[in-house]
Subunit: 264 residues, 2 copies
C-alpha cells in the first residue's frame, strides 16, 4: 500500500484520537493538532489553539511536509459562556487553519470537516451563516452575538451549519486546486463532551439514542472519516454525510409522516 500523510485536529480525544489510531493502523503518517498535548498514534504533535490567530499561523508553519489530507475535527460543544470561542474555534478558526494549510496539501488531497447533525437546518439559516462568515476579529464576534441574540447552543448549531455551507461553497474552487472537501455530520456520539449535548438539546438526545439502540462510537465516525480522506472516495466532493445511526432518518420520517412507506 501507499503510505500517506494526514493532518488531524482535535487529536487528543474522541473522534480525532480514534481517527489517528485507524490511520496509523492503515500504515499512514499522522500529524496531530490539539490544544491539549497528545502522543498516542501520532508521528508528530503540534500545539494548536483555534481560538488564537497567532497559534493558527504558527501551527501551520510547522508543517514542513506535503499532506494527503486534513481532518478538521477539533470543535467545542455547546456550553454557556463559550459563545465567542465556539464561533471562533468551530468555524472561523477552522476555516483560517484550512487556508493556512492549503499550500501543504498535495494534488488529489482530501479535506474532511467535522460538522454535526446539529447543523442539519442549514437550509433555513443561510443568511445568518453569511453574516457570521463576514465577521472579522474578536470585537466583531461580540457585536455579532449581541446583534443576533444567540446563546451557546445556537452558536454551536450555527457553526455546524456554517461549515456545511462553506464546504459546499468551496467545492468548485477546490476542484481548481485539485483538492476536495466534504463534511461529516455525526449525531449522538459517546465522546467526552456528550454531557454538553444532553444539556443543550434536552430529552431529544436520549429519545434519539433510544430509537437508534445506543449512542454512536467515536471509532464509527472515525472509520468513515478515514475512508473519505482516502483516494477511494475521490468522487465525493462538497457533500455532507450524516453518520448518526439513523437519527436523522427517524426525525425526517416523523416530520414527513413516511411510516406508510415501510414494508409490511
Amino acid at each position: 500500500m501507499t503510505q500517506r500523510t494526514y493532518a488531524v485536529t482535535g487529536v487528543a480525544s474522541g473522534i480525532g484520537a480514534e481517527l489517528a489510531r485507524i490511520l496509523k493502523e492503515q500504515g499512514h503518517r499522522v500529524i496531530g493538532f490539539d490544544i491539549h498535548e497528545a502522543q498516542a498514534n501520532l508521528d508528530r504533535f503540534i500545539a494548536l489553539d483555534l481560538n488564537d490567530a497567532a497559534s493558527i499561523t504558527a501551527a501551520a508553519a510547522q508543517v514542513d511536509e506535503p499532506l494527503d489530507g486534513l481532518c478538521n475535527n477539533a470543535g467545542l460543544p455547546p456550553r454557556a459562556g463559550l459563545e465567542e470561542t465556539i464561533l471562533q474555534v468551530n468555524f472561523l478558526g477552522t476555516r483560517a487553519f484550512t487556508q493556512a494549510l492549503l499550500p501543504r496539501l498535495r494534488a488529489g488531497g482530501s479535506v474532511v470537516n467535522m460538522a454535526s447533525r446539529a447543523g442539519a437546518h442549514w437550509r433555513e439559516n443561510v443568511a445568518q451563516v453569511k453574516r457570521l462568515a463576514a465577521v472579522g476579529g474578536c470585537e466583531g464576534l461580540a457585536a455579532f452575538i449581541a446583534a443576533e441574540q444567540i446563546d451557546a447552543t445556537r452558536c454551536y448549531n450555527l457553526t455546524k451549519e456554517a461549515i456545511i455551507l462553506w464546504t459546499m461553497a468551496e467545492a468548485e474552487a477546490m476542484i481548481q486546486r485539485d483538492l476536495r472537501m466534504n463534511t461529516l455530520s455525526p449525531g449522538g456520539t459517546a465522546t467526552g463532551i456528550f454531557g454538553d449535548f444532553q444539556r443543550a438539546f434536552g430529552a431529544a438526545v436520549d429519545r434519539n439514542i433510544k430509537r437508534a439502540g445506543r449512542a454512536g462510537k467515536p471509532e464509527e465516525i472515525a472509520q468513515i472519516a478515514a475512508f473519505v480522506l482516502s483516494p477511494a472516495a475521490n468522487w465525493l466532493k462538497g457533500a455532507d454525510i450524516a453518520i448518526d445511526g439513523g437519527m436523522g432518518a427517524f426525525n425526517l420520517t416523523d416530520a414527513m409522516d413516511l411510516q406508510g412507506l415501510r414494508l409490511a
Copy 2:
C-alpha cells in the same frame, strides 16, 4: 480478512459490474442479478427481471445462502415509452425484491440502494411518492401515470425520490431487524445509459460535467458502494450520500448565492 457474500443487481454493466469487480478484488463472494446474462466477477448469476413479479420471487428463491449485503443497483434511465417500466423496476420492483431477500440477510447486513442526483428534490415531492408507493399492480401504474400526467423523465426522478424516502422511512424498522439501509446518489456518471440522461436533462448535464471537470466513473461510485456495504460503515443508517464530483454543491452554491463564503 473475513470473506463476505453480497448480492448485486444490475451486475451486467456500469456501476454494478464495477461493484462486482471490486468486491471480488476484496476477496468476497458475489451473487449477481440482471435481466442480461453476466459472468464476469460473479460466483453465481441469477436472472432477474424487476418488471416481473414472478421473476422477483423466483430469483430471490434461488438464493440459498446467507447474505452480508445487497446492492439494489439495477435501474432504467429516463426514456420515453418506458414510463410504467421505470416506476416498476426502479422503485416498486426493487422494493419487492428487497422484501423477498430480507430473510436471507444476516444480522449486521447492509442494503445499499442506488438513487440519483435526479432524486434530490424529494423534500418537495413527498405526496407524489406516497401515492406511487400505494399503487398496486400494473393496471394501477397506468392509471397513476395518467392521473399524475407525468412523462418518462418525471417518472425517473420520482422513483429516485421514492427510493430515498423509502430508505429513510425504513431506517428504524431495519434497526429492529439488525440491518441497515442507505442510498447513494450519483450524478453525471459515464455509463452506457449516459445518453439518456443528456436527452432527458438537456444542457444542465453538460454544464455540470464541465464544472466538475469530467463525468464520474462507474468505479468511483462502486468504490463507495463497496464501503457502505462493509462493516466499517456500520453507523451509516437511513442516509443518502451524494457522489457527484461536486455537482450538487455547485447547484446549491448558485441557488443560495454562497460564493461569498469562499476563501480568498
